[in-house]
Amino acid sequence: MSIPARWLVSAAAAAMLLGCAYLALGGLSYAPAAAPNPCTPRPWPRSLGTQGTLEQIGLDAIGAMACRLHAPREELVLAIAQPGGLHRFALAHHLSDRLLQNTARAGLLEAIARADRAGRINGLEAFLLRAAAENVPIERLVQLARSALGG
């Protein structure tokens, strides 16, 4: 090997050694963790009051809605919590207002059914909540969710 080639190989070896060491130490994965899959149901907290149960159903509904929209649950929570956030979310995901409303209603019904199956609400409560989810204008429900999220 010629002397210039030896110099270049030495420099490349030093550069590669450092790069490989950082890669081996996890350099490529030093990034924020990916948000969890919204389609994976979260376990319910052990004990919740009535208010807590309703709020948990709300959060579950947002998760179910995010799953149907193939969007991160957290992005949807942030969109609901911030003024104008839901409109930006719809634009970013190319969603019509109608689709967003239908998905929100379906997500809410799914969360109520899950709470019912988990025994967190009784049959009467499930019936009343389902009736509300099917009949209350979805804008009103979003307003309620926004005020609960502090937006």
Binding site: P4, A14, L28, P32, R73, E74, A81
Partner: protein, 447 residues
């Protein structure tokens, strides 16, 4: 009477001072941003204006130094540089600061190019003068951020410019009248390969200087002093590695090996496995070693056997600072886009951590609202201080243990996102450094 050695040192000071100015304000930019209440894109012009005007003014200044007496051009330029530095130090608006930086660059261009005409008569040979000139410039560029950081931390960002004014006047000691330069043959063509490689290496160097400082201060929360101490690894390594790199068999090998080392260091910065200044030490040392070799070798090649030195020196300055401006524009745009993407990712991860935590729903929602407020209050590119949002929930009776765990986890995710936002820019810079090997290799016959 001033001795030749003192005059040489004074001229070296002038060159180092001007070329340090292309990067000296980097560590002061967050403070300048706060002082004038402007955005990052505006404050970046404090840096860009200087480098852009220096790139544009270098050749006209070199021709002027050739046509008029170089000592006169150097003297007047140093006075202009000193006066503009004083205006920078006293600037009461960002517009005045940027305009004064542009005038500083005009003075700087004249001083640097004329110094190259004056140095041979002090050192006895054009080759020694070119080496001295390139070394002073390289050291100035590498040491700039560290010096600026120390002054910003100890006094204020204005101190950077206040110190420059008397130093520029001190450098006048190196100016000795020697009459007009002999009217030699018209300047030959510039060394395209060496100048192109210089431009690419300088674009990459911008990343090492500008982005490392942003990462250390804004993403990792280091003080300007601690950041200055960290980036001082680069000039120290440049000085330490210079004797070894000079043993390369020829300038082409020296320049190519240096560019490869720089690329390796920059790529490693794009792959740091944690948010600690210690992770930057080895990459900065590698970049410093590469920088010493590449800038010296390429500048030497660009000037070797060419007449006149000032004009070809002007070409190297134009190429280097055009590279810096290009690096600033491309890498800052890439970084800004990545930062926005990573901020969104960190917000989602933070929201997931809060939603899935063991806090009561009431505290989850209150914490989420407080965190959103903190994020809204944060500066455009600085990591927001999230601690008050958690302290508020502790006072409100939230589960202290869970809040501690959550704070640690969310702050770690924020640091990861902020660090990851720099990765692509560092890798792009590494590619630019590696690309510099091409003109170096292609210019084999000339180099």
């Amino acid at each position: 009477m001033t001795s030749a050695r003192a005059r040489t040192l004074a001229l070296g000071l002038a060159v180092g001072l001007v070329l340090a100015d292309s990067s000296i304000v980097i560590l002061a930019l967050p403070e300048v941003l706060d002082r004038f209440g402007v955005g990052v894109d505006t404050v970046a012009w404090v840096l860009t204006a200087f480098n852009l005007v220096l790139a544009l003014a270098a050749l006209p200044a070199a021709y002027l130094a050739r046509r008029v007496e170089p000592a006169l051009v150097c003297g007047v330029s140093l006075v202009v540089f000193a006066a503009a530095s004083a205006v920078c130090a006293l600037a009461q608006s960002i517009d005045v600061l940027i305009a004064a930086r542009a005038i500083q660059a005009i003075g700087g261009a004249g001083a640097v190019c004329a110094a190259l005409e004056l140095l041979p008569s002090e050192l006895g040979s054009e080759r020694a003068a070119a080496s001295m000139w390139a070394a002073a410039g390289g050291l100035g560029a590498a040491a700039g951020p560290a010096l600026g950081g120390v002054l910003t931390q100890l006094i204020s960002w204005r101190a950077i410019f206040a110190v420059q004014a008397p130093l520029a006047l001190l450098a006048l000691a190196g100016v000795r009248r020697r009459g007009r330069a002999a009217a030699g043959p018209p300047a030959g063509r510039p060394h395209l390969a060496a100048n192109l490689a210089l431009g690419l290496v300088s674009a990459a160097l911008t990343a090492a200087l500008f982005l490392v400082v942003l990462m250390l201060i804004d993403a990792w929360g280091l003080s300007p002093f601690a950041a200055a101490l960290t980036v001082s690894v680069m000039p120290l390594s440049a000085v330490a590695a210079a004797p070894l790199m000079r043993r390369a068999p020829d300038p082409r090998t020296e320049a190519a090996a240096g560019a490869v080392l720089m690329a390796g260091g920059l790529a490693a910065l794009g792959l740091v496995p944690g948010a600690s200044a210690w992770w930057t030490v080895a990459p900065l040392a590698l970049i410093g070693a590469g920088l010493a070799a590449t800038l010296l070798a390429l500048t030497g090649v660009a000037l070797h056997g060419r007449d006149s030195q000032a004009i070809h020196g002007g070409w190297t300055i134009a190429a280097r600072h055009a590279g810096v401006v290009l690096g600033l524009l491309v890498l800052t745009a890439a970084f800004t886009a990545d930062l926005s993407h990573q901020q969104a990712a960190a917000e989602r991860t933070g929201a997931a951590l809060v939603l899935d935590s063991r806090l009561s729903l009431q505290h989850k929602l209150a914490l989420g609202q407080a965190l959103l407020q903190r994020l809204g209050q944060g500066s455009q590119n600085r990591l927001p201080n999230l601690a008050p949002a958690f302290a508020q929930q502790r006072r409100a009776g939230g589960d202290a243990g869970e809040l501690d765990r959550l704070q640690t986890a969310i702050e770690e995710q924020a640091r990861r996102a902020a660090t990851h936002a720099f990765s692509r820019s560092f890798l792009l810079a590494a590619a630019a450094a590696l690309l510099a090997v091409l003109p170096i290799a292609r210019g084999r016959t000339a180099l």
